[in-house]
């Protein structure tokens, strides 16, 4: 076994031991022990209600994230390619990144009602700005020497775009998708906690109202684990697709 693996396992065990100690001494209704959380996790994974809730949540995740990727990547690339357009749009994207979600929920209701569309819109609002901003940065910061070289070899604008600019922006696009996915998971849960209690958010609220903190943490653990696994999948895809590049991955 590699030393780094042993270190990681050791740190994880230490953190779990610290969690157990704090939970036993904290005397709070909202922090369960590790052991209680594990039991709740086992119960949760056996429950049909949990899988149904997970599916309901993932419909919004899929809708919002795929829309954010399909719209965010081309728009981000376009903003990067035409800097004057980017300068005009960038402040708006930055506002989207920092605006408190709770404040815009009534607006979401006015626009999309209380539906899957509305939950998808919340996910979109979380993921889209990150994806677009990162793609824009990747396009804008294409290696100037490469561009110059392509130009001196007489590359046409289309060749410059397809052979130089887009491949150069590709790492940023993938990093943006990875970060956007993480934000999409947050958006999925936030939307269901603030907009309407459905899916995982509904389940969390139900457990919270019964002070069943172990089940709350078990649900959170599943969501975190799933997002970590999916982000790892994107990172591996990133490595495979960008293996030809010797530069470090963006983000």
């Amino acid at each position: 076994m590699r030393a780094s693996t042993i270190w990681r396992a050791g740190v994880a065990l230490l953190l779990l031991a610290a969690w157990e100690t704090v939970a036993r001494s904290a005397q709070t209704l909202l922090l369960p022990t590790v052991s209680d959380t594990m039991s709740a996790l086992a119960r949760l994974l056996m429950s049909a209600a949990f899988w149904s809730a997970l599916w309901i949540s993932h419909q919004a995740l899929l809708l919002g994230f795929v829309s954010a990727a399909l719209i965010g990547v081309p728009l981000g690339l376009a903003f990067g390619h035409w800097p004057s357009l980017g300068r005009w749009v960038r402040p708006h994207l930055q506002i989207m990144l920092v605006v408190p979600t709770a404040a815009v929920i009534p607006l979401v209701i006015m626009v999309a009602g209380l539906s899957l569309r509305a939950r998808g819109l919340v996910v979109f609002m979380f993921a889209f700005p990150v994806i677009a901003v990162t793609a824009e940065a990747g396009m804008r910061e294409a290696n100037a020497r490469l561009l110059e070289m392509a130009r001196s070899f007489g590359a046409t604008p289309a060749q410059m775009m397809w052979r130089v600019r887009l491949p150069a922006a590709w790492p940023a696009v993938l990093a943006g998708l990875r970060l956007g996915l993480a934000r999409a998971f947050s958006g999925m849960v936030v939307g269901e906690l603030v907009l309407m209690a459905a899916g995982i958010g509904g389940l969390l609220m139900k457990f919270q109202s019964d002070f069943d903190a172990a089940s709350v943490y078990a649900v959170v653990a599943v969501v975190v684990l799933e997002s970590v696994v999916l982000m790892r999948v994107v990172a591996v895809a990133e490595q495979r697709l960008l293996g030809w590049q010797d530069r470090p991955a963006f983000g």
């Binding site: 005397q27 209704l29 009602g113 209380l114 603030v194 309407m196 509904g202 139900k206 109202s209």
Partner: protein
């Protein structure tokens, strides 16, 4: 002076200023330090139902207490803060406090906060519950009192109506959904009903008043931490007395309620309709609104209809002795409370 010297001097001045600001913000006058403090937690933003409590807090300030009101994001967080002793009193959904008591939290109800002010409203003019059939109905989160009441109402008194229930946790979002037509009906607090009427006059009709349907159900109580109550019995007594006297004042002194509404909820609205409606109910009971019989009925209801622990008893969720002492002192004005006196 060299650039470096000037920069160093500037940094030192900035540091002194920062320390000064921190010290000033942390410092308390000697008089502030000696006044006993009462910390009160609310399980959400303050609304009209909280105003009698605010009157009581001002009275306690006049008596020499320092009252610190803490608004938590949800009742669950307020309950946890109370059970850990971070606040001395807390208000919010009764069910939440009792669900925590069932898990061993040291919390007991000492006086009612506000009466049952939940209403079921629907778009259009039909007042019968059959109008709900097939419509989208917005409720609070699962486990909240308003949601429990709505589900019981639909099951017992309107079994043929099958609305599509949507859980919308934030009150402002339920209002937005109702006003935008995203839902046709919603369970709202009386103050929200008044707001809807102000924003969209004549568009909505009340299907039922849960306060009338379950007039003895205690939906919002003031709870204290039992450890605090044991170590500070006088403060608990002073607090409950102030609440009872404030309830009596709020029932008759509309000007004071309106003054509090403007101070706490904002100057922007005319709060006269709310003041009239809350006083007419009355939302704030002149004798503290908590008898053993009422608590027993509320507990049975919560156990049977909202799935909280069956082994709970009135003595595990409430301490009536303080209110009874206070009523002996200030004399009960209603027959029910006088009977327990």
């Amino acid at each position: 002076m060299s650039d470096n010297g000037g920069r160093t001097l500037g940094r030192a001045a900035g540091l002194v200023l920062l320390v000064g600001i921190l010290a000033a913000s942390c410092a308390q006058s000697p008089a502030e330090e000696t006044r006993p403090e009462i910390r009160v937690g609310f399980g959400g933003a303050l609304d009209f139902g909280d105003l009698a409590g605010e009157i009581a807090h001002q009275q306690l300030e006049k008596q020499g207490y320092r009252v610190r009101v803490v608004t938590f994001a949800s009742t669950e967080i307020a309950v946890d803060a109370l059970s850990r002793g971070e606040v001395d009193f807390a208000t919010g959904s009764t069910r939440s406090f009792w669900a925590a008591a069932a898990r061993g939290a040291p919390v007991r109800a000492v006086v009612e906060h506000a009466a049952n002010v939940f209403r079921l409203v629907i778009a259009g003019m039909r007042q019968d519950c059959a109008a709900l059939d097939g419509q989208r109905l917005a409720l609070h989160a699962e486990g909240a009192v308003g949601t429990v009441l709505a589900r019981v109402y639909l099951a017992d008194r309107c079994p043929d109506a099958h609305p599509e229930v949507l859980l919308v946790p934030v009150s402002a979002n339920r209002l937005a959904a109702l006003l935008s037509g995203s839902v046709a009906a919603a369970v709202l607090k009386l103050s929200d009903v008044s707001q809807v009427e102000r924003l969209a006059p004549g568009r909505f009709t009340m299907v039922t008043d849960f306060g009338n349907a379950w007039d003895d159900l205690k939906t919002t109580l003031v709870h204290t931490n039992t450890n605090f109550a044991e170590s500070h019995p006088d403060q608990v007594r002073d607090y409950v007395r102030a609440r009872v006297l404030a309830n009596r004042q709020a029932a008759t002194d509309h000007d004071e309620v309106l003054r509090q509404a403007k101070r706490v909820l904002g100057e922007g609205s005319d709060w006269t309709p709310e003041a009239r409606e809350y006083a007419a109910l009355p939302a704030w009971h002149p004798d503290g609104g908590m008898t053993r019989a009422e608590l027993d009925r509320t507990l049975r209801f919560m156990i049977d209809r909202s799935g909280i622990d069956q082994t709970l008893t009135v003595d595990r969720v409430a301490d009536l002795s303080v209110l009874e002492d206070v009523l002996r002192e200030v004399r009960a004005v209603t027959p029910a409370a006088a009977a327990t006196d």
